[in-house]
Symmetry: D2
């Protein structure tokens, strides 16, 4: 058993970390911090945890010592504080965007000035399918963004195999939980319900992570859809000449046949022929699939996941499992629901 703490536990990623870690047989959650809710029960904001824990939020300055720390975006705005915890011997998982990119200019283009640019490149990326070896000895892990994870997992087997060209269009669709637990008028139910809100017609930030991970040159848009959880990315690519459907399928299979949390979904029948986030809510799966337009080089790739699980907290827990040498699936066994 190790002890873990969650810095910034009251948001949606914080709640999902709590759900997964409270159900994890190898860890003990010793703290979740919240400035606003210190000394209040965590199940006040995360009512699904009622009866599972009596944990109350800690004030951020009263974080007890622990073996591993998870920082959410709402935890602290100072990435140096996270690196410092790692330097003090803790294994640190950072779920904010701060430690995902390696190139300061790229960071600046998408996020503005970095508060501690010397940290860029110091963290291991927490994407087990690409980073498993490095994660076994990582002490500072930067967990990737939700749409980036889906995109990278859909693209990487094909870019690595040279089956698609670098120019790709990524169209992300995302539920409202991706906007966080803070109230803003644009996220009111009456405004957000039923939308197809193209909040980023081009240049979405996750372009940078996708490019860094795959070498592709993505252009990325994003649309908010009427869902709470769930991400789907639809990627338009062009195959190298004469690439067949069989080769694409083989490339995915080769890459993912032993992966516990990636499924290749590209079927000819049924209601769920391509990856669909609806059936992944709560699960750590990322489903990837593809469709090659007959007689052309037009390839459509699809990735789907739960933005709070494989797109965040689940990726972090899977990374922890790897880091600690545990079975990678520990605590992540929920398969998702159908119908839902």
């Amino acid at each position: 058993m190790i002890t873990v703490g969650i810095v910034g536990g009251a948001g949606y990623i914080g709640g999902e970390l709590l759900r997964l870690l409270l159900g994890h047989p190898e860890v003990e959650v010793v703290a979740a911090t919240s400035t606003r809710l210190a000394d209040r029960r965590v199940d006040l904001t995360h009512p699904n945890l009622r009866g599972l824990t009596d944990l109350v939020y800690s004030a951020p300055d009263r974080l007890p010592d622990c073996d591993a720390l998870f920082f959410t975006s709402s935890g602290t705005s100072d990435p140096a504080a996270r690196a410092a915890e790692s330097a003090r011997g803790k294994v640190v998982f950072d779920l904010s965007p701060d430690l995902r990119l390696t190139d300061q200019r790229v960071y600046r283009r998408h996020y503005g000035e970095h508060p501690a640019p010397e940290l860029l490149g110091t963290a291991v990326r927490g994407l087990p399918e690409l980073d498993r070896d490095a994660l076994t000895r990582a002490d500072l892990v930067g967990v990737p963004g939700c749409m980036a994870t889906a995109s990278i997992l859909a693209l990487a087997p094909l870019t690595e195999a040279g089956l698609v060209g670098p120019e790709v269009y990524v169209d992300g669709r995302v539920g409202s939980s991706g906007s966080g637990a803070s109230a803003g008028e644009m996220n009111l139910h009456a405004e957000r319900s039923g939308v197809l809100r193209l909040f980023a017609p081009a240049g979405h930030r996750h372009e940078a992570e996708i490019a860094q991970a795959t070498g592709a040159s993505p252009r990325m848009s994003a649309t908010g859809v009427d869902a709470v959880r769930g991400v789907q990315v639809v990627i338009r690519a062009t195959t190298a000449p004469d690439v067949t459907e069989r080769e694409i399928r083989a490339a995915y299979r080769a890459r993912y046949k032993d992966e516990p949390f990636v499924r290749v979904v590209a079927q000819k029948r049924g209601n769920y022929r391509l990856p669909e986030p609806k059936i992944l809510l709560g699960s750590n799966f990322c489903d990837v699939g593809f469709a090659l337009e007959a007689g052309t080089r037009n390839l459509t790739l699809v990735g789907a996941l739960d933005n709070l699980v494989k797109g965040g907290a689940g990726n972090a827990v899977q990374s922890l499992n790897i880091r600690m040498g545990w079975d990678e699936r520990t605590g992540l066994g929920f398969p998702g629901l159908h119908p839902i």
Copy 2:
């Protein structure tokens, strides 16, 4: 043509008043006020009005003179100001709860101390089906609450005819637009989506209006459901001895056969056998229906409407039409959509 102004135009009732009044052939909308958005276009907050108007919000203190005024809850907190406008010769429609009740003690029980108790009982209620005569000469109109309207229209024909006893249970279900356009954490899409939120297990405020209008002794609960617009009330009553389904239907028909905006819906087949708000969005209909349990005196009444239209802005416009002697249906012709 008369000139009209909307005091508190940026909320959801304000937007619906704008939609209806901009499409009304007998009125000219000369102002809609908003403190926060003065000098901004009204279609910034009401995007459905794009292309229909170039109106901008007025600061509340720059309201031009006009023949009729509609006050929404967000307009001013001072009911005396509304009464004063009426005294100055304007026809005033108040959509806040301030002028709905007549008894100060009843008001206090549900809302606390009234800011101007001398005004209680001075307004005519704006429920055309009950108040048509009084509305022809009213200068101060208190438009009833959304669930109250549906309940009163479902109950009144039967209480008037002595067909049901006074003890009734009213169960209201309401969409998120009933909570207004102000952002609060509990109305975030991620929190409000998919709910069956029993926010008032008993003692809902609209009890008072229903009692006042019908003489019944209602107990009322209310649940927030996953809809933006729409109210449904399900009322459980006990019939007087030996009352038949035929008598109930006859009582409704007698009461509503000439009403342009009340339909009796109690069918044996089809997917929409009882009143359903889904097909009423945007319309000024209140559908009412009933089911008498065979061999018993257990009677279920159902009312449905769009809370922003027949439950608010539409009732006000219908009242205006009556007051001005116009065809009552003017500007209120939209029948609702199916499917939706």
Copy 3:
């Protein structure tokens, strides 16, 4: 390890049994039957199970021998066949309505003529909170209906303690998965989306189970709401004279303090003060709560659960765990999600 089979595996309850039993460490699923889909993979209809199993549907006449059998409503229409399997030494869980009631007249009133009336009363009810002892040695278990389960769990502690009178109104709200996986026009997305469909204004069948379990005299209505999973029941009762909120809470606590799957939810703050099915999807919890109107004897009880889990498949698995002497929570650990 025991072997289990699911007769009628292609419907929604069948899928949920598969999800729970495939994840159960003490059982091996050896068959799921389907007439229409024999020899097709079970994950064709239950896409959430992709990667978890290679099971294909068996034709019903090719059911292999196994230790326990689960019959869903779509399995076989002949209850005698289920009893026969039990007589042959299998532990049989029947999720159809056939074996829930004990009184033939009551059955007839709600369902028509029973195909094998001699079986009425021969099964043990599969509601662990009431039937735990009997379940330890039951070979034929009749799993209760979804809304009945929620209602019974909300009512029983109070009827047993004499805190409420027998006359209660039960208002059930249920998602579309309760209508099953067969296509009918009334369950089309365009027709079913956004509804408040009062499909049973009175006399819902589950009245009979609630009466049988609690001794109460329920009148029950039911409304289809815009959700796929989820049941909420709102029960209006009258307390015995002078009953206090504290006594009600104490009665619930006493009854449920050691129950792994019932939580008492009756809070004064937060967004989830009373039981809400939204946060229970996929979980085996039944949350129960109450509100006593101040100064009155008007008591509102609320129960919520996932109709496919605690309202069906989960109750069956929990009953299996009891029957086999395993930890009752085995395979049922998923707590539900928030937000969702």
Copy 4:
């Protein structure tokens, strides 16, 4: 006043034609046909029309004579029958795909063999913004598809002005009403709710109409989303060199400044910056907008409409208005709702 009939009146397009034509001051609806529902009231299937009409469905072989006929896809499968009605002197509006395309090979690629290829090219397209002149004297009108209409209206001003290259990606998102009123398992609420169903990853049929109308070379995908009504198309295009945002806006304005039903929506603030179908339900607007990625030639175009109105029945009625020389907006005044 002219008399009109609807052949195939029981589907969703049929219902929308009824809603619009029953509210149209210049026409009298004399018949709506349905094989299955002959002699049943039209408001059985279109409950929003209750109280507006006593019309019953006619058997198809008992269609009375009338001045104009609207054929929906469910009306008759024989396009020659429609042409024959036109030849007999009626003005015929065909809402099926049969008369939209002019090139037999193109038709065959997307739909298979045409039942009456000699008719291809004989109808005038019913897209007022492009075909106004021809419509003034058309007797056979082929109303375009819903996603095609949105795409053509978003693209045409720019292709006509030479501002974008021919290669475009069209991503369509569509609600469940686009699948019609017939029950299929994949359109069950439990299966269709919450989906992001990429039912056409490439090669969607509406490519052909878009190409024919604009000269562009579209590649088109389509995703079913959790909405009943509504279409949004997101089009990725590349501008000609040095094209500015100002030129694009000017091209749209020039083309649409006098159009009653096209609005250019491309704003820098507010919650509805780009076209959003949510606020168009029931209206005949097609909103079009764009975003040019700064410093690039990457242009995103967006179109939105209600698939049953501007994407079908509304376009047909607008075409009728033009053909008869009436004000084009007659009967089409509903602006849409917000919030909804």
